[in-house]
Amino acid sequence: MKEFIAILKNELIKTIKRPRSFIGFGVVAFICLILQAAFANDGREILSLVTGQLENTLSIEGQVLNGNLICFVLLQTLIIQMPLLVALVTGDLVSGEVATGTMRFLLTRPASRTKVLVAKWLAGMFYTFLLLLFLGVLALFVSRGIFGADDLIHVNSEGLTVIQANDMNWRFAGAFVIAFLSLSVVATLAHFLSTVLDNSITPIVSTMAIVIIFTIIGMFDMPSFNVIQPFLFTTHMISWKDMFEDPVPKQEIINSCIILFAHIVVLLGSSIYIFNRKDINS
């Protein structure tokens, strides 16, 4: 165990110290701040695009443009970009070291290959968690600081739900947990491809290609796609939004979490299997 902790510590330091790890934080900070500034200037006009159809007959009272809404919009926007940021780091964890030749040196230590691989995977998970935590602080707390906290107007294809402000914290906590699970699938996929492939760029690009293809298949409501959609992890990556339904569809969320978790188990298991049988030649 001591040995594993030492490897893990080493992997965490390596992951955090790499310049590319900071790109993710920079992008998240930039998008959050630029969107918050845009909402502060033009928020009411943007909102009227959605609420306009109501405003003929009803007046909306209360602070519609508030920190909770901005956080929701930021999450919705960034969940598209976050997989790329996660894959940028986790897609290089194994293949990068194989390409530079440091993996052979690492494997000369008495620790098993499984421990080395799991330590790298955990370092990737830790990075994903930090990135999401950073997003959470910027999107939720900074937005609430700027715009205040009030009820959330949640819009989906079936209508509009007003969720009370005192009912928000647990929903956001649940949403961030599901978002973490979703991004963990992407991180594990990138980690898996990084184990299979020796090039450091290909796993990153391949991960993004898979995410894009699955997302496009999931977007179209066609009978031929409907058969495979429930099994695609991208379909369940947006399950965090279910936390803002009223009532919360618990069973749907649990099913999505099980599918996401199953992806992680299968991908990590496959990574371990392949890595233990892989010839590291360089």
């Binding site: 959605v50 109501l54 519609v64 989906n156 079936e158 209508g159």
Partner: protein, 229 residues
Amino acid sequence: MKRITVILFAVLISTVSQAQEASSLINAVNKKFASVNDYKAKVLMKFALPGIKINTLAGRVYYKKPNKLRIIAPGIFFVPKENPMKDIPKLLANTKAYTSIITGYETVQGKKCAVVNVIPLDPNLELIIGKFWISVKEPLIYLSEITTKENGTIRTQNYYGKYKKQALPDKILIQLEMKKFKVPKMLAMDVKKKSKKKEVASKKTGEIYLLISDYKVNTKLSNSVFTKK
């Protein structure tokens, strides 16, 4: 010929008398409204709006003559754009701006009511027609239908109780014509939900139910209450 003249004369007399009766009913209603310069009260709002889910909310309602009305409640809620609570007293007060006539008698909430139609004299006004069910025994509006060019018809049912003397209702049911709130699946980024069979784009009725209690009448409310912060 003589017969026709008699019939026409009878119709004319009846129309004039119905118009006079309508005016006297409206004047009596206006008298009641005139006794209230302002009020504040507790309000509980329940919503049944198509495509909108919102919890019941408690707040306070403030009114000041001629047509200042504000509901203050924690959070986000919806009120009709043309709120009958403030618009009806203002509409009826200007008796020179419309003509009124009784078109029949109906029973509303067990009370015999005259159905008074109010038609504006100026065709450019937003109001097309106002229909008021006014009790013949006491000058209270139990039901009203205001039809405007922009917002369709708003139907309001008033239930009176403790504050009947001042014509202040305990319960108000506002029904308004509105389209079901809908956002395209792609715009809502709602890819998990499967499309349902297309609904016919018919107009639906939205309902806002107000339970009002603890009226404080003529307390000289400050105008600042009506300024949104």
